[in-house]
């Protein structure tokens, strides 16, 4: 596609529920990234995919967070048993290759009640 797209744009959920966030990268981009933006922590790196593999998961805050990428394209970030501190904007980015300029999607605003 023309740009990175994410869905849903907004998600409100109750504490303890699972959520799935989706990212469609720019067509042909092999590298995909997830970041989180929250008031207290600013913009922080979560995970990076090169193709379908995730060489670096070090930014995932806890084992409740997981992500996968299939077909070298779409990625899903899953948060299990959501907590209020998970409330944030989750941003996805892609780049042609790792180390090249990253282009960001519009984000998913997650609110955990």
């Amino acid at each position: 596609g023309a740009g990175v797209s994410q869905s849903p744009s907004n998600k409100v959920t109750e504490k303890g529920k699972d959520v799935e966030l989706r990212c469609d990268p720019i067509s042909g981009h092999t590298a995909l990234y997830w970041y989180r933006q929250s008031l207290g922590q600013g913009l922080e790196f979560l995970i990076y995919f090169q193709g379908n593999s995730a060489p670096d998961k070090s930014g995932l805050p806890s084992d409740r967070f997981s992500a996968e990428r299939t077909g070298g394209s779409v990625s899903t970030l899953t948060i299990q048993r959501t907590q209020q501190e998970d409330s944030a904007v989750y941003l996805c980015a892609s780049s042609e290759l790792a180390g090249m300029g990253q282009f960001f999607g519009p984000g998913t605003r997650l609110t955990v009640l």
């Binding site: 990234y33 790196f45 990076y48 941003l91 180390g99």
Partner: protein
Amino acid sequence: GIQVEQSPPDLILQEGANSTLRCNFSDSVNNLQWFHQNPWGQLINLFYIPSGTKQNGRLSATTVATERYSLLYISSSQTTDSGVYFCAVEPRDSSYKLIFGSGTRLLVRP
């Protein structure tokens, strides 16, 4: 880990004024990007600038990698320039993740 500091944290300008935003980083980097986050939250790429100077319309950026800083110049500011400007670097030891500064919040008044 690498530290990225941006200054000033907040800036108010009258439309038509010029400004300079600064980004300092604490260690060697592979690359540096400048972004503008608009009021709707979208991060817009401004520059991919590991070193040297680039210009795009009223904006230009300079990175001096040996001295570990980058500058973003905004000339003849417009109200649409309002938002938050982020500097982000790729550390040498992990050239895929971006480490973001805390941003400069700019308000341009008509």
